[in-house]
């Protein structure tokens, strides 16, 4: 039991969210951003109309929080190399280029507000540090690719 909530209900709602919605999103990073976007900035409560309609507002909130924690945990356990792949996948699936993603994310740092509320400050800082490193690697790769393209093009 979770207070008045039944553990089984939260589990069922989590499965429903995972099967119907999260399975269609490519990569854990995109899932993390999607789940964090359902959280109210002021109350840290999660809202999802469809899930709340099928279960209840509280059960849906707990289920989203649980999925958010799981996605974050999986990403924290990733190596920087795997994170770079996740970021590339995220950029591809959001119809933006990796260079655009790097440019905007270095300024806005949206990954800082994508962490679950309950995670330790150590895990949050570790995650932010890894993302910064992954962004730097993406940027270096683009610069390298750009230089190679310039050197390969015929000189006028």
């Amino acid at each position: 039991m979770l207070g008045e909530l039944k553990y089984e209900d939260v589990e069922a709602a989590s499965r429903d969210l995972a099967d119907r919605t999260l399975a269609k999103i490519r990569g854990d990073f995109a899932r993390l951003i999607y789940l964090a976007s359902m959280r109210d900035y002021n109350t840290a409560e999660y809202h999802h109309e469809g899930l709340a309609y099928r279960f209840s507002e509280r059960v849906a909130g707990r289920a989203i929080a649980s999925c958010h924690r799981d996605a974050f945990t999986r990403l924290v356990r990733c190596s920087v190399k795997e994170l770079v792949e996740q970021l590339e996948l995220y950029a591809d699936s959001n119809c933006s280029t990796a260079s655009e993603l790097v440019r905007v994310w270095e300024k806005l740092q949206p990954y800082r507000i994508a962490v679950p509320l309950e995670c330790s400050s150590l895990a949050a800082r570790f995650f932010a540090s890894n993302i910064r490193a992954a962004l730097a690697i993406l940027q270096s790769r683009q610069l390298r690719a750009h230089r190679e393209a310039l050197s390969a093009s015929p000189s006028l």
């Binding site: 039991m1 207070g3 945990t73 924290v76 356990r77 190596s79 920087v80 190399k81 770079v84 995670c119 330790s120 400050s121 150590l122 895990a123 800082r125 570790f126 540090s129 890894n130 910064r132 490193a133 730097a136 690697i137 270096s140 790769r141």
Partner: protein
Amino acid sequence: MSALAYFLLVAVIILSFCLLLLRHGGQRDLDRDVDGSGHGTSVPFVWDPLNSDLSARIFGPEDSDFVASETSRRNARQFRQERTALALDWLRAVRGPVNQSIRDHVRAARGNAGLRPADEIRLGFAFLLFQLTAGILHIVIWVCGPPSAAKLVGYSLGLAGQLRKVTEDVLPTGLQVTVELVEEKQEREN
């Protein structure tokens, strides 16, 4: 004779440095207790299970090597510095619950007539060994970086586990009953 004197001098310097770090670490733990909560030492430390997974990543060379091979020297240096800071924070997160449990034990043991001196000495020795290892680990991380301290990390975690077990074994019976009652009450409230 002079070699022995030098050896003793070096040993005293290292021990003094370790003690200084221990006091510094302990003070920071106390600061964290008081900081923001206003509850002083009564705030219990919660060990996040994810921190155990993090240790493998923080102290492993894989990420640092990959970043060094893919980015500029400046980025690689910044990443190493961040990992060093994270490793020191991780060490503080390991020391926090151990220090807290010893403080709880001292509080519970005060005025308890059923204390066994042999167990208390065993606990004191284990705590001293843990603090010494943590102090050495702190220096190694600070000076050489997290990957160099990887082997000591396992040993330090083992000591922390042993210490928790010893604290549980030595804990006075009266407090154990109180803890069980509090836990039961919390379960009922949930």
